[in-house]
C-alpha cells in the first residue's frame, strides 16, 4: 500500500532541514499566504468550503462551514489547537516539529480569511521540542516580514503567539483551551454558545482549528480546490494522517489516501501484528473512540461516514492496536484511569463517575470483583452517558466523561468472558473463586 505525501512530503524529502525557512521557501513556501492576501473573506471561506476540508481535531466538522459561522464582532482571533493529547495521537507533533512553516503559512491564510490580526498556537506542555521549533520558525517569519505589521508588504497586520500548555488533556477541548489561553482554569465552557466562532477567546469570534487542518491550507491555495478534491474518496477529501501504535510491527505516523480498509491499514501499512500474534481489537480514532474487533470491522473502509455508522469515530486519527496477549479488562482500566485522572473536576458525573468506574475495574483486576460489578459498570456509565448511545447523550459539560464509557462499552460488548474470568478469581463474586 502506498502512502500519499502532501503534508509530510517536505519532511520526508528533506529530513535534515524541512523545518527551516530556507528549505520552506525553496520548496514553494508562503505562496499560499501571499495569494490569500489578494482575496476576499467570502472568497477564501468559499474556497475552503468547496474543498471539503474536514477538521482533523477529532469532531470531523467541515472547516469552511466553521469559518462561515464567524460572528461579525471584531476583533476576531485565530487559535490553532496543538494540544494533541488524545492517547495514541502524535501526528501534529511531527507537523509542528518538522514543518512549522507549513503551519504558519496556513495560519496566515486562516487569519486573513477570518479577519484575525492575532493568532495563537496552543501546544501541549509535553511538547517542548515542537514548541521550540515552531517558535524558531515564528521568529524567522517575523524577521522575514511574514508576520508582524504589514505582512508581505501589505497593509495587513498579524501577530502570532506560541503558547505552551501546562499538561492537561482537557485543554485539547477547544473551550477549555480558550479558558487556559485566557489564564483561567482549563475547564470546558458551557454550551451554548456552541461555537467559538460566535464567542471564543475573550468572548470574541474565534476560529479554532487543528494543526493538521491548518497545514492543509497552503496546498489548497497553491494547487487548487480541484487538485484537493481529486485526492478524494467519496466525501473524504485530501489525505489523512494517522498515528498507529500498539502491537503492530511498524508503528508510526502515516499520511494516506482515503478509502483503505482497516485490514489494509493494520496488516499492509503497519506491517501486521507483532510476533505473529493475532489481532484482538483496535481503537480506531483515539482513546475515546469505541473499540473495533476483527470479526466485525476489519474490512470496513476507513471513512468518516462508515466509521460513524458502525458506532465509532475516526476522531484524532490515532489507531491503537491490541493483540491476543492483551488483558482487555486491564486495557479498559488503563483507558478509564486516564480519563479519571484528566477529568477537570468541573461537573459531577465526570469528576465522580470516571473515578468510580476506575475503582470498580481495579477491584475486578485485583481479584476483588463482585457479581454485580458488570451491571454496576453499565449503570454508572449510563449516568454519565444516557442510554449508552453513540454518539453519546452526555450528562456532562463536555465529552470527556463519555470518553471513559467507550472502553467499558467495548469491554462489556466484546469481551464479557474476560470480565467473568476475573470475577471467577474473586471470593466476593459468589463465583466460588480461589480463597
Amino acid at each position: 500500500m502506498t502512502e500519499l505525501r502532501v503534508l509530510t512530503a517536505r519532511m520526508v524529502e528533506h529530513p535534515t532541514d524541512s523545518h527551516t525557512l530556507e528549505r520552506y521557501l525553496a520548496t514553494g513556501g508562503y505562496e499560499g499566504a501571499r495569494a490569500s492576501l489578494t482575496r476576499t473573506r467570502d472568497d477564501l471561506v468559499g474556497l475552503v468550503k468547496e474543498s471539503g476540508l474536514i477538521g482533523r481535531g477529532g469532531a470531523g466538522f467541515s472547516a469552511g462551514m466553521k469559518w462561515s459561522f464567524m460572528a461579525p464582532a471584531r476583533p476576531s482571533y485565530l487559535v490553532v489547537n496543538g494540544d494533541e493529547s488524545e492517547p495514541g495521537t502524535f501526528k501534529d507533533r511531527q507537523l509542528l516539529e518538522r514543518d512549522p512553516h507549513q503551519l504558519i503559512d496556513g495560519m496566515i491564510i486562516a487569519a486573513v480569511a477570518n479577519e484575525a490580526h492575532h493568532a495563537f498556537v496552543y501546544i501541549r506542555g509535553e511538547y517542548p521540542k515542537p514548541a521550540r521549533r515552531l517558535q524558531q520558525a515564528v521568529v524567522e517569519a517575523y524577521t522575514a516580514g511574514y508576520l508582524g505589521p504589514g505582512i508581505f508588504g501589505s497593509d495587513y497586520d498579524l501577530e502570532l503567539t506560541v503558547h505552551l500548555g501546562a499538561g492537561a488533556y482537557i485543554c485539547g477541548e477547544e473551550t477549555a483551551l480558550l479558558n487556559s489561553l485566557e489564564g483561567r482554569r482549563g475547564e470546558p465552557r458551557l454550551k451554548p454558545p456552541y461555537f467559538p466562532a460566535a464567542k471564543g477567546l475573550y468572548m470574541l469570534p474565534t476560529i479554532v482549528n487543528n494543526v493538521e487542518t491548518i497545514s492543509n491550507l497552503p496546498h489548497i491555495l497553491t494547487r487548487g480546490v480541484d487538485w484537493f478534491k481529486g485526492l478524494a474518496h467519496g466525501e473524504d477529501t485530501g489525505t489523512f494522517m494517522t498515528s498507529i501504535s500498539g502491537h503492530v510491527n511498524k508503528p508510526g505516523n502515516y499520511e494516506l489516501p482515503h478509502g483503505l480498509t482497516w485490514r489494509e491499514l493494520i496488516f499492509d501499512v503497519a506491517g501486521g501484528i507483532r510476533g505473529g500474534n493475532t489481532l484482538k481489537a483496535w481503537i480506531p480514532g483515539g482513546a475515546s473512540a469505541p473499540w473495533f474487533v476483527p470479526d466485525r470491522h476489519l474490512d470496513l473502509e476507513i471513512t468518516k461516514n462508515v466509521t460513524d455508522a458502525n458506532g465509532s469515530m475516526l476522531g484524532s486519527g490515532a489507531v491503537i492496536v491490541m493483540d491476543d496477549t492483551t488483558d482487555m479488562v486491564a486495557a479498559a482500566e488503563r483507558l478509564v484511569r486516564f480519563y479519571a485522572e484528566e477529568s477537570c473536576g468541573q461537573c459531577t458525573p465526570c469528576r465522580e463517575g470516571t473515578t468510580w468506574l476506575d475503582m470498580i475495574l481495579r477491584r475486578i483486576l485485583d481479584g476483588a470483583g463482585r457479581a454485580e460489578d458488570k451491571d454496576l459498570l453499565l449503570d454508572v456509565s449510563d449516568n454519565i452517558s444516557v442510554g449508552l448511545a453513540w454518539p453519546p447523550r452526555q450528562t456532562t459539560i463536555c465529552p470527556l466523561g463519555p470518553s471513559a464509557v467507550s472502553p467499558i462499552m467495548g469491554l462489556v460488548e466484546y469481551f464479557p468472558d474476560e470480565i467473568a474470568a476475573h470475577l471467577a478469581t474473586s471470593p466476593l463474586s459468589g463465583a466460588g473463586g480461589a480463597r
Binding site: A340, C344, G345, T348, N383, V386
Partner: protein, 810 residues
C-alpha cells in the same frame, strides 16, 4: 419587563417571565427543580448537573440542565419523567459517593439541601464500597470561616460569590478531577469582609462559621424578621435564637436593599447581645465615687432628682441629650418628646459630630433609592470608602458598575474598595475638595470625561464626608450640583443604623417628628414643649465645657469614642455636673456617668427603623433583655413620671400609633402594614404637603482658597474602618481581633521629606507609618478609633513629626 411567555411544565401551561433560566421560570410557576450550584444571585455554571429536565425540541426530547437553559415561549418541559428521575438520582448518587455523611455532627444537618434531597429521592443504600476521599477537616480559610473539603460538593458557589459579588477572588479550585478542592492562595487567607455569605449559601456543611459551629441544631432555632443593625442600608435579616440566646443572623434576599448579602460585621456583630459584660441592673454612683447596683426605683429617683435640680437651678436648657441612633424609631420618638416636652430643652442630637446636616439628611429634596443603582447610567460616589463603612451598599454599587455597566466615578482622598470598578477616579488633599468640585463641575482637564458621563442619566450620587473631619458643606455642595443632573437621585449617607429614623423622630436640634421644622406648629400630644432650634452635638459638648449645659443624657452614645474631637468629648462628659447613660455596656463614656440605666438591645425589642432611603421596616423581639435591662422608651417614660410630667406611654406599639398621628411623613405607616403587607418596608415621602420642610442643599460656592499644608503640617484624612475599637465590635468575640490597629498613612514623597520611614507622632500621638502612594502629598491618613490608636483632638490640619531613630527603640 417585557411580556410573559407561556411554557408547558409537566403538562400544565404556565405564564412566566422571559429572560430567565428554566430553573427560575419553573420556580416562578411553583415547581422546584433540585439544584446545588445554581443560585439566583450568581452566574450560572451548570456544574453540579443536578437540575436536569427534559425539553421537547426540533430534534426530539433533550435532557438539559435547567439552570443553563434560557426559557422560551412555547417550551414544553418535563421535570418528572422516569428519564429525568434517573438522571437526577444518578447525579445525587455521584455527589454522595465521596460525601462523608457525617450529618449527625454537621452544622448544616437539618437545613442541608444535600440531606433534604437525599431523604426525598436518594437511594437508601450506597453502591459505593470503596474508600471515600479524605482530607484534613476542617481547615480555617479565614478568621471566621472553616472549610471541610470532605463535605464539599464543588458547586463553586463560594468561589463565584467571592469573585463575582464581593470582588475578593481569594478562594479558588485547585487540582483537578477527583482531587479538585476549594482552597485559598498560599499565605493569603480568605480575609474578605463578606466571607460569611459563603457559609450561608454553601449547599452542604463544607463552610461553617466559627461563630455558629456546634452551637445549635436548626430545628431548635426560633427566628424572627429584623433589620441589620450594622449599617444604614436597612438590610433585611432573619435573627435566630436557641434557648433564648441570639445565635445567628442570616441575610434575607430583598430586591430593595441587600440582595441577601451581609458583611461580616453585620453577620457576626450580633454577638455583643449575648456578651457577659452586658449591663443587667441600674448602676448609681455613690458618695464614695463608685458604682453600686441599684433598683430601678432608686436609679430613676436619682435621675429625676438630679435633673429636677439642674432644671430648677439653671433652667431646662441646661439639660441636653446625645444619641438615639442605635435604637428603634419608637425609642427615638420617646427621646425627642422627653427632651422637648418633659424636660423642655431643645438640645438633642442623634448625630455625633460626624454627620451631615440633619435637615439635609432627613428632608433632602430629590433623595434617591438604593434600587436606583440598578438602572443608573452614571454613579458618582463622593464620600467614605463604602467597603469600610457601608459594605452592603458597596456590593450594590459594585454590581451596578461591574454587571450592569454603569459608569462609576469615585472621588476620595485615597484608594477605595471600588477603585477597580471605577471608570474615573479622583483624589484630592482633604480641604481642597471645593477646588475638585469646581473643576468637576466645569469639566476641566482630567475631569472632562467624568463631567460628560454625569450628563448621561439616570445619575445616582452617593454623598457624605469622605473623612470624619471634612467640611460637611462640601458634601452638600456635591449634592446640590448633582441633583440637577438628568434623572438624578441623591443618597446621603450617615453612620449608625437608625440615624435617619432618629432624625425623622425629631432627635435633632432643628427637626420635629415627621420631618417638620422646629418653630413649626405646636404638637398637641406633647402639651407644653420647647419646639425651638437647639444645639447640635458639637454645640452641646462645647456648652458642657463652658458650663452652660450641666446635665447630659447619653442614649446609646459613647462620645469619647465616637466624636472625632475626642478631647472635646472628654472635657464635656467629665465636666458635666450630672451624666446619665442609657446603655448596654460600660463604655468609655458611660463609665464616667453618675447613673447608668441598662438598655435592651438588638433582637430584644420590637419597633421600626428607617434606612437611608427613608424606608421604614419592622424589627422584632426574639430574646429577652438580660437581667433588668429595658427598652429606652420605657426607661424615659419612667423618668417622666418621676419628674411629674408623665408621658403615659404603654407600649412600643402604642408609641408607633402616636408617631403616625404626630409625624406627617409617617402617617399610615403601621406595624400591621409592615408585618403583613410590606415586608420589604415602605419608603416614607419627602414631599408631603403636610410636611413643609424640604431641604435644598447648599449650592457650591466659589472655592475658598485653601492653604496647601507646608512643612510638617498635614491635611488629615480621618477614616472609619469596618472593624474598629467600638464597644459593640469589641464585645463580639468573632470580630474582636479583626481591627487593623492604628497607623499613619503617608505618600512616599512625604515619608522621604520628613524622614518618617517608621513612625510619626500626630498631635503628639505616636503611630507606625504605612506608605500609601494613593494619598496626595500633604495628606495624612489615620483610621479612627483603632485598638491602641490615639484618640485626639482631630482637626482638619494636624501636626506630624517623624520619630527619631533612637526613639524607635524605646
Amino acid at each position: 419587563m417585557s411580556e410573559q411567555v407561556t411554557i408547558t411544565l409537566d403538562g400544565v401551561e404556565c405564564l412566566v417571565d422571559p429572560g430567565q433560566m428554566l430553573i427560575a421560570a419553573a420556580e416562578q410557576a411553583g415547581t422546584h427543580i433540585p439544584r446545588f450550584c445554581w443560585h439566583p444571585r450568581l452566574k450560572e455554571v451548570g456544574m453540579c448537573r443536578q437540575c436536569f429536565v427534559e425539553v421537547e425540541g426540533p430534534r426530539g426530547v433533550m435532557m438539559v440542565p435547567s439552570c443553563t437553559q434560557p426559557v422560551a415561549d412555547g417550551m414544553v418541559v418535563h421535570t418528572k419523567t422516569p428519564a429525568v428521575k434517573k438522571a437526577q438520582e444518578g447525579i445525587l448518587e455521584f455527589l454522595l459517593i465521596n460525601h462523608p455523611l457525617d450529618c449527625p455532627i454537621c452544622d448544616k444537618g437539618g437545613e442541608c439541601p444535600l440531606q433534604d434531597q437525599t431523604l426525598s429521592h436518594g437511594p437508601g443504600e450506597s453502591r459505593f464500597v470503596e474508600e471515600k476521599r479524605h482530607y484534613v477537616k476542617p481547615i480555617p480559610v479565614s478568621d471566621l470561616v472553616l472549610l471541610d473539603r470532605e463535605r464539599c460538593i464543588l458547586c463553586a458557589r463560594c468561589v463565584r460569590f467571592a469573585d463575582e459579588i464581593s470582588g475578593d477572588p481569594l478562594i479558588e479550585f485547585a487540582d483537578r478531577g477527583n482531587e479538585t478542592q476549594v482552597t485559598t492562595f498560599p499565605d493569603q487567607p480568605f480575609s474578605s469582609y463578606f466571607s460569611g455569605n459563603t457559609v450561608q449559601i454553601c449547599p452542604v456543611g463544607a463552610l461553617t462559621a466559627t461563630a455558629y459551629r456546634f452551637r445549635a441544631r436548626p430545628w431548635d432555632l426560633r427566628e424572627a424578621a429584623s433589620v441589620n443593625p450594622g449599617t444604614t442600608a436597612g438590610d433585611s435579616v432573619t435573627i435566630q435564637a436557641s434557648r433564648d440566646e441570639l445565635i445567628r443572623v442570616l441575610g434575607v434576599d430583598n430586591d430593595a436593599t441587600n440582595h441577601g448579602w451581609l458583611d461580616d460585621r453585620s453577620r457576626f456583630g450580633f454577638q455583643w447581645v449575648t456578651s457577659p459584660d452586658r449591663l443587667r441592673r441600674p448602676l448609681v454612683r455613690g458618695a464614695d465615687g463608685t458604682f453600686h447596683a441599684a433598683s430601678w426605683g432608686e436609679a430613676v429617683a436619682t435621675v429625676a432628682e438630679q435633673l429636677r435640680g439642674v432644671i430648677d437651678d439653671h433652667g431646662p436648657g441646661a439639660v441636653a441629650a446625645i444619641g438615639g441612633a442605635r435604637g428603634t424609631n419608637e425609642d427615638a420618638y420617646t427621646l425627642a418628646r422627653f427632651m422637648r416636652s418633659v424636660i423642655g430643652s431643645p438640645h438633642l442630637d442623634a448625630r455625633l459630630d460626624d454627620a451631615l446636616g440633619s435637615r439635609f439628611l432627613a428632608t433632602l429634596a430629590g433623595r434617591g433609592r438604593i434600587g436606583d443603582l440598578e438602572k443608573a447610567r452614571t454613579i458618582l460616589l463622593w464620600g467614605p470608602d463604602l467597603k469600610e463603612e457601608h459594605p452592603t451598599l458597596y456590593l450594590r454599587v459594585r454590581r451596578a458598575a461591574q454587571e450592569l455597566g454603569a459608569t462609576l466615578i469615585v472621588v476620595h482622598p485615597r484608594a477605595t474598595g471600588l477603585d477597580d470598578r471605577a471608570t474615573h477616579r479622583f483624589t484630592y488633599v482633604p480641604g481642597s475638595g471645593w477646588d475638585t468640585l469646581s473643576a468637576l463641575m466645569a469639566g476641566e482637564g482630567e475631569f472632562a470625561a467624568a463631567r460628560a458621563a454625569l450628563g448621561e442619566g439616570p445619575v445616582v450620587t452617593i454623598v457624605d464626608q469622605t473623612g470624619l473631619v471634612e467640611d460637611p458643606l462640601l458634601a452638600e455642595a456635591v449634592a446640590a450640583f448633582t441633583r440637577d443632573l438628568p434623572g438624578a437621585g441623591v443618597l446621603p449617607l450617615a453612620r449608625r443604623a437608625n440615624t435617619y429614623g432618629a432624625l425623622d423622630m425629631g432627635v435633632a436640634p432643628d427637626l420635629l417628628p415627621g420631618r417638620v421644622p422646629t418653630s413649626g406648629a405646636a404638637i398637641e400630644a406633647w402639651g407644653d414643649a420647647d419646639l425651638s432650634e437647639g444645639l447640635d452635638t458639637r454645640g452641646i459638648l462645647e456648652a458642657a465645657v463652658a458650663g452652660r449645659v450641666k446635665a447630659l443624657l447619653l442614649v446609646g452614645a459613647d462620645p469619647l469614642r465616637d466624636v472625632p474631637d475626642a478631647d472635646l468629648a472628654r472635657r464635656a462628659v467629665e465636666g458635666a455636673d450630672f451624666v446619665v447613660a442609657i446603655d448596654c455596656f460600660l463604655t468609655d463614656s458611660s463609665s464616667v456617668a453618675d447613673v447608668i440605666l441598662p438598655a435592651a438591645g438588638f433582637g430584644e425589642k420590637e419597633g421600626t427603623v428607617t434606612n437611608l432611603e427613608g424606608r421604614v421596616q419592622k424589627v422584632n423581639a426574639l430574646v429577652p433583655p438580660p437581667g433588668q435591662a429595658r427598652a429606652d422608651w420605657s426607661i424615659l417614660d419612667d423618668i417622666s413620671t418621676r419628674l411629674g410630667r408623665p408621658m403615659g406611654l404603654q407600649s412600643a406599639l402604642a408609641i408607633s400609633r402616636e408617631i403616625s398621628a404626630v409625624a406627617p411623613a409617617y402617617r399610615g405607616v403601621t406595624w400591621f402594614l409592615l408585618d403583613w403587607k410590606e415586608r420589604d418596608g415602605v419608603v416614607v415621602p419627602t414631599d408631603s404637603g403636610e410636611q413643609p420642610l424640604q431641604y435644598v442643599p447648599v449650592a457650591p460656592a466659589d472655592p475658598t482658597p485653601t492653604k496647601s499644608p507646608r512643612g510638617a503640617t498635614f491635611a488629615l484624612h480621618l477614616s472609619r474602618t469596618l472593624y474598629d475599637d467600638a464597644v459593640l465590635t469589641r464585645q463580639a468575640p468573632a470580630l474582636a481581633g479583626l481591627a487593623g490597629g492604628g497607623f499613619a498613612g503617608l505618600n512616599p514623597a512625604d515619608v522621604k521629606r520628613i524622614r518618617a520611614d517608621q513612625a510619626v507622632t500626630v498631635e503628639g500621638h505616636r503611630l507606625p507609618v504605612i506608605v500609601d502612594p494613593s494619598l496626595a502629598p500633604g495628606t495624612i491618613h489615620v483610621p479612627f478609633n483603632q485598638p491602641g490608636g490615639p484618640l485626639f483632638a482631630a482637626g482638619a490640619v494636624v501636626r506630624v513629626e517623624a520619630v527619631e531613630a533612637e526613639a524607635l527603640d524605646a
